[in-house]
Symmetry: C2
Subunit: 715 residues, 2 copies
Amino acid sequence: MTTESKIKKTQTEVLIIGAGPAGLMTACWLARTGIPFRIIDKRTTDIFAGQADGLQCRTLEIFQSLGFGDRAWKEANHMLEMAFWSPNEDGELARSTIIADTIPGISRFQQCVLHQGHIEKWFNDSINKWSGGKRGVERPLLPLSINVDESKVDDAEAYPVSVLVKNLTKDNERQKQSIPEQFGAKVENGLYRQFDGDQEKFYANLKTDIEEDDTIDKEEFEVIECKYVVGCDGAHSWVRKQMGINMEGETTDFVWGVLDMVPLTDFPDIRKRGAIHSKDSGSIMIIPRENDIVRLYIQLNEIERDPATKNASEFGGGIEDKTAKTKGRVDRSKITPELILKTAQKIFAPFKFEMTDLSWFTGYQIGQRVSPKFTKHSNRVFIAGDACHTHSPKAGQGMNVSMMDTFNLGWKLAYVIKGLASRDILSTYESERIKVARELINFDHKLSRMFSGKPMIPSKDALTKGEGVDMDEFHKAFYKGNVFASGTLVDYSASTLVVKPETTDDVYFESQASNIPIGRRFDTSLVVTHSDARPIQLVDRMLSDGRWRVLNFCGDVTKSAQMEILNKISDFVYAKDSFRIKYTPVNAREDSIFDVLTIYSSKRDSLELFDFPRLAIPQDHKKRRNYWKLHAGIETTLHEGECNAYKKYGIDTEKGCIVVVRPDGYVSMVTDFSLDGYKKISNFFDEFMIPQTKNILPPQSEDDIDRFVKPLFAI
Amino acid sequence: MTTESKIKKTQTEVLIIGAGPAGLMTACWLARTGIPFRIIDKRTTDIFAGQADGLQCRTLEIFQSLGFGDRAWKEANHMLEMAFWSPNEDGELARSTIIADTIPGISRFQQCVLHQGHIEKWFNDSINKWSGGKRGVERPLLPLSINVDESKVDDAEAYPVSVLVKNLTKDNERQKQSIPEQFGAKVENGLYRQFDGDQEKFYANLKTDIEEDDTIDKEEFEVIECKYVVGCDGAHSWVRKQMGINMEGETTDFVWGVLDMVPLTDFPDIRKRGAIHSKDSGSIMIIPRENDIVRLYIQLNEIERDPATKNASEFGGGIEDKTAKTKGRVDRSKITPELILKTAQKIFAPFKFEMTDLSWFTGYQIGQRVSPKFTKHSNRVFIAGDACHTHSPKAGQGMNVSMMDTFNLGWKLAYVIKGLASRDILSTYESERIKVARELINFDHKLSRMFSGKPMIPSKDALTKGEGVDMDEFHKAFYKGNVFASGTLVDYSASTLVVKPETTDDVYFESQASNIPIGRRFDTSLVVTHSDARPIQLVDRMLSDGRWRVLNFCGDVTKSAQMEILNKISDFVYAKDSFRIKYTPVNAREDSIFDVLTIYSSKRDSLELFDFPRLAIPQDHKKRRNYWKLHAGIETTLHEGECNAYKKYGIDTEKGCIVVVRPDGYVSMVTDFSLDGYKKISNFFDEFMIPQTKNILPPQSEDDIDRFVKPLFAI
């Protein structure tokens, strides 16, 4: 471009491309931590029907930590049981078993389902709240080119990434394309993908240097300079293409249709999650939804293919896949609600099945693909969500894993951009999330093939075994799958941010807490707040506000030796050379970066508030006491039954331990409850935190003090 | 007025005067049931600080039934324990005991506290939602006269009440008076009452016939003709004055101050609800609030009186009370936050007490008063809330009982206005609520005197007993008081709407359900939905949507005799001459008035959905099945422990019973689970329901059917 550009240039810290769940989660973290960002989307409007709907346990836990878990829990349909139906010994469709949809004890939440549009609304509300109304999705904005100044990628202060975007507001033809067909006169559906195929043609038609082209309206363009780009632009990711990364994986011949409707049926389990294997007509998955809607995933065996696309890969096209050898692409125009319903009726037989109030339909060809790279340009450009991994939707994983990607990335970007942590921590995004993506792909590969395969008819004679998918194995796989699918088993490997042996592939515990797996999410336990006797889930004191948590399980502090340790730790944390002071910005509130919570094992009524040192009952600059850091870990509560955090976490009630939890709720380390333990914690933070020296001007008057002594992350 | 009035005349079904909690609850019911109404308030703005804050169990249950219980539960501060402090044997302040603030088992909610402004916001949101954005509080509108055409009061179709109102928007002087002082430059406080004293002067100055007065801007006036007026305009109720009703009761010499602030103290129980009796300096009640605020009620022993008002009654004046003989009115200008704080410091001694972030203060003189009448003009004009009863605020009852008044009234007005029930049911408003008000006044009378009295110092010698309030008795009274204060014991007497012996003063049960008190609120139990296995609180299937509930506890229907009864009942309810058809408007959805729920005692997996008759699994006009009416009452749930509704309600698991619950959640009757039982239910409804004959035009086409076959109350 020429030096006197006619196209406006703007700067922001992070540019998020794509405003689906992955992009919105990124924006939510950045809004919460006070990082300037922009989030753009080429679509004109929000989603109103169809799309993803499953909310897994871990996702609900994170929504709760972001402040809107209650909305999900209230509005979504809860799925409790999963019913399996397959041919009995006489070849007739029969209920073979019922399992728990969410394995009891795995989380305080259970899997539930709700239309994606609601979820996007909660994010938008949250972004609006935390950014003080300053930020929100900008649309329709189409990215055209991305450019990274490689000479500046290591400079934490630089804005090395430039993205040229076009505002489509005035571009009638483009805009028309950016309106999903679901808003048209026909029944809303997911068969149409915006900009498919012709997107590249459009770019080719744009002159390389639009600055020189006087036929173009320069007002419609903008160059956004930023520190980081996060591409959350879906399976056909434009950002991924710009990075020159191809997905790896394969496609199957299994084609499935989806219907969102209200069923009219005498099938008794229509309000339970269900898996039906018919003898010869294929399979169905039932997902009962909010407002009496039911979603059916229906295997379409008889759909016509386009022979010309025999070696092409993706249903709907767009992704290059050299390994694919299929019967060819499905002819999309042949997929109609009537066809899908007809197939469903065959599978449901002898039960009757009709429908009313059809609200959405789509079709897809099963495949599993994962991107070999999630980042490029020295961690300046990232991709996340469907841009990194695509698979079948039946385990309800897509939207969840996508949001988990950017829930992993968001706080790391915030720490680096605020100058709190070194850029090195950004490398853990790819290493942590690519492992999850690969596990997901393997899981889906296995499960979806079992789902699409013909069922084995149980033999009346115990010795012979028929052909096909063994339904007992299928049930077991699903049960195991439901544990995996909950998202609570995600296990990050050893890194700067996770302290455990590098060789460990399996779940790893330290001896001090035999039930706190290092690298996994910190599970909750009920505890009782000392000051007001309120039972509270411990993780509800550990909201996703950008802070690290150091949990002092101080054991039985009615023993003077144990209270002595707590006193020493308090002095250590308040000493001038402590990690707390070193890495907390000068004049920020003392718990801005490290939030220390104390949980004792003693009886609550044997201890008084002022028995405890400063660390457990700190005061702020106005001498206001913080009453919310000290908890009893073992108690019979008045209204909520027993709580025993020490038992749940496998912690010795005498000696205790210390647990360090990352801002995203994953366990970094467990160590002794001792001064020595705190020295290990210091060393841990020394590896990646940046000493803070910046001072904010001292307050001019007593009234001014609130303005100057700020929490680092708005609270 | 002349026939060609210059003042505009409008009509509405109900005019609500006053938009505090009682008025908003009325509006909420009417919005929910689709009744046209208006709600006016003379104040210019909402409340932002101070005022009432306690939310009792029953109130939270009702909020839940109105759809916003979750907001209260999330935003409010929960109070778990109550700490009592008084002089020990050495006369030093010491913790004497701790009790549960909400008695365990009394409700699924526990008492919590939150600023009144939040509560008013939930109501406004709900009114907006259910009225489709059509209705909301109109302000500042001042009522000037009320006129009832007694010749028309018995005509259900007439609009016999006319209220002349003045819009204060253009009236600068009036409007200034209608802005509470809390929005001024000084600290917000509750000492100022709008229009006190000079209100009557203002009315006197208005010419009797403003139509004739050409100096008056006619545009500012409006005559609202309505069927009913509900006066929710506070302790100094204008509506009550127009009805010519005087409050009855008395005033004490006890003066209390209130502070909302953040405390700086070494008193250890400042985040618990607390009662402190100091030896000589008076008492304090501590109410810990949301956002680290604490409210203190502080006894002011040394406040100056105005001797000229020695025989006047009410602090702040305005209410006539001939029985009062006090030291005289408090000089309001002498009540300052500094004075209140100074007194608090003496009571807290030897603990230190300072404060910061003062957000509100007020002062009041304790008295208990109740109106002898709650209605006049043949149930055309009602008063509710503070207009009917005033007392000390320390039990957190005022706002709660006020809302309960109109929660009792609202659905009755809706039934009468819709022509579903006879006007006779309106008489139960006064009979049911005046009993509650009197109980409340007695309760408060006792408790507030114990609170304000000097404590007895425990003697070291067991034989002698000191003077003053016995603290053990005080603790016991408070414990008992907390049960009463929960609002769950309210017990409506025998009436058209409550079937029990008229002579019964005490709690009454039928033998079929030994734990369902007739006339009290129907308590909840966890049950499991048959169709989707979801555990749900039974009352969450019984939302406040205007419908009666008939609960079929059908016992063990795996026994064919029992299922036979259910089948017969189903036929009875669907028979052409059934009460259901008789009293449900023609072409309204079949469960518009009577919602029948079925709860069996058998094991869930021993029964299939289609084992049950139509009544338990009904279909609508589009053949869509209702999957939410059939429940298992006894089960070990996957994630929520045991549920046993039969045990909780004291119902025989073999035989069952039937329970009829009013639209406001109070138990009308319990009878046998039998056809005979259903005949008794028919007779019950015959007493006050009006047969429906109005027909809506039949649908023109299949697509039209949804438009015509409407639920009676919007769902």
